[in-house]
């Protein structure tokens, strides 16, 4: 049985309790809803994109600790990054939470995102961790529709 404290690490508990960038953004240039039909988790991600740079990002909605903390850490991580950099981070994050990342060296380059390494031991929770990222990706690709994890 995987260790529970690997999943609910301090950073995750902290971001769940006090999510960063948790607000509406009236002047967002992109806004996409993300939805997990299996559990009802539901977030809206707002992005202000200028010359392919994420000038500002915020989110609102409701869901489990993993999905909310992931959205919060994501928002703090990608702010100021370019679209390409954010997409690359999602790739790495996805590799991490699906347990396909080799070695601590690579994991340590992820900064706070590394807190989600425990998710890979809980396959049922991978979708919680990636919901906000899927939604961000759709926002960056200027897709207007509602995104689901299915």
């Amino acid at each position: 049985m995987p260790a529970l404290n690997e999943l609910y690490q301090e950073i995750i508990l902290d971001h769940n309790k006090s999510p960063r960038n948790f607000r509406k953004m009236p002047d967002a240039t992109r806004k996409v809803e993300g939805y997990n039909p299996l559990c009802g988790d539901h977030y809206t991600v707002y992005v202000k994109l200028e010359d392919d740079i994420i000038k500002d990002i915020s989110f609102e909605g409701a869901g489990c600790a993993i999905s909310k903390a992931s959205a919060s850490v994501m928002s703090a991580t990608v702010k100021g990054k370019t679209k390409a950099e954010a997409e690359e981070l999602f790739e790495s994050f996805h590799t991490l939470v699906t347990g396909k990342m080799d070695g601590m060296a690579e994991i340590s380059t992820l900064g706070k995102l590394a807190a989600f390494s425990g998710v890979s031991e809980f396959p049922a929770r991978v979708k919680c961790a990636t919901l906000a990222w899927h939604t961000l990706k759709a926002a960056l690709e200027a897709k207007e529709e509602v995104v689901t994890t299915e």
Partner: protein, 425 residues
């Protein structure tokens, strides 16, 4: 902390004079899967509304079928085919007696409750519901008793009306009666709500519908594991249930229908076994029940369900209800004492199902942390999203008890929830 000893050993055999013959320790021995450890902790299985566990006798019956009788039914002239047909058809007889149907032709094997509802919506619905007609369902239906009727309504231009419920999760019968008019063609209601645990006054619902000459389908998936159902007494026109929620195998269920309706209904699926004679010009359909059983069915599942009925026939279901009621009361009281916990579904008449939410904690996190203690519950919308919308919540955590659960397991659940609070807040 949770006691380290085996769960079954600390449970008293006799808990009250009401059901002194009911020995939960003995029942647990019939279900080998319960006697296992999850990461060193005794498995506490409280997800029975999703699916129940299977007693050894059911597993044995299915193994025996595959070892000694496996063959296709209703067509071979050889020994094995005769044996398989006998076992399968014997199961039909057992089910007929168990639910007190008047004739064996009224028992149609289906894959489960979902297929049973779809069969009636498609076959009865398509030939009886027309544009402008109305179908009534309730506010606490499972998606499987909503969507087939929506599909029918969309196709026919008919309207779906909903019996509302109060904040306790009880249907408002006065409002129900107001929904009737000359366009009302069908009622589909569950006997017991999977998301709230409410036991609906199904007999009253049927009586009212019959006063208006409208037939009723009852989704009994959550009722049959907890109580003995008598379709003649209820006077329901259709009753559907799944094997796997009543300690039987997955992939097999039952549609009971009054013969007068089933006779008049067109086939649902076409294929082998449902025909008498086929030419390219015309096909003569088979008689009941075969008319609705196209193709090779889940024979092993049917045989397994027959063994399940044999098993249940040896158990005093009145004692089961008393035991489960005691568990429900005990768990309701214990859970209610947890600060920040609210029970969703507080009807006066309930089966042993408790849906709850915890302040500031999402049900998924509750589920994951309880799982770490070997406790299995269900989290999510329970395929009843309109129920979640009614109560303004995205999801609940649900503990559902079966006859083999114990008070010690309720204690483990309560302790587990305290741990959830400790971890997350």
């Amino acid at each position: 902390m949770r006691p380290a000893n085996e769960i079954v050993t600390s449970e008293p055999v006799v808990e009250s004079r009401l059901h002194k013959t009911f020995d939960v320790r003995k029942i647990r021995k019939d279900f080998p899967i319960l006697n296992q450890k999850v990461d060193g902790k005794p498995l506490v299985y409280l997800d029975n509304a999703a699916t129940s566990q299977k007693p050894q006798v059911v597993i044995d019956a299915m193994v025996k079928y595959y070892l000694e009788e496996n063959s296709n039914i209703h067509r071979g002239v050889h020994y094995l085919s005769e044996k398989a047909t006998q076992s399968y058809e014997a199961a039909r007889d057992k089910i007929q007696k168990y639910i007190n149907a008047s004739q064996r032709q009224e028992i149609i094997f289906v894959r489960g409750t979902t297929e049973g509802v779809n069969l009636v919506a498609s076959s009865y619905g398509r030939s009886n519901v027309k544009q402008g007609d109305e179908i009534i369902i309730s506010a606490m239906e499972h998606h499987s008793n909503i969507v087939p009727w929506q599909i029918l309504c969309e196709e026919k231009g008919a309207k779906l009306l909903i019996i509302p419920m109060n904040d306790a999760g009880e249907l408002l019968l006065d409002e129900y009666e107001k929904l009737f008019n000359s366009r009302t063609k069908f009622i589909a209601v569950n006997h017991v709500s999977n998301a709230l645990g409410t036991v609906n006054p199904i007999k009253q619902i049927i009586t009212i519908a019959h006063q208006y000459g409208v037939p009723v389908l009852v989704d009994g998936a959550q009722a049959v594991p907890h109580m003995r159902v008598d379709v003649l007494d209820l006077d329901c026109d259709f009753y559907v249930f799944s094997g796997h929620k009543m300690f039987g195998p997955t992939g097999v269920g039952v549609l009971y229908g009054k013969k007068k309706f089933l006779d008049a209904m067109p086939p649902y699926h076409g294929g082998g076994d449902m025909i008498k004679y086929v030419t390219f010009e015309k096909t003569i359909y088979n008689d009941l029940p075969n008319k609705f059983e196209a193709g090779t069915p889940n024979i092993a599942g049917g045989v397994g369900l027959g063994a399940t009925i044999d098993y249940l026939n040896k158990i005093d279901m009145t004692a089961v209800r008393a035991h489960e009621h005691e568990l429900l009361e005990y768990a309701t009281q214990a859970l209610s004492s947890i600060k920040g916990l609210s029970i969703i579904g507080t009807a006066k008449e309930k089966a042993s199902v408790i849906s709850f939410v915890l302040e500031d904690v999402h049900p998924h996190d509750i589920g994951t942390i309880l799982d770490d203690d070997g406790i299995a519950i269900r989290t999510g919308h329970h395929c009843a999203q309109p129920v979640m919308q009614r109560f303004g919540i995205p999801a609940t955590a649900r503990a559902s008890f079966a006859m083999y659960n114990t008070k010690v397991e309720v204690d483990a659940l309560v302790e587990g929830i305290y741990r959830v609070i400790e971890v997350l807040t």
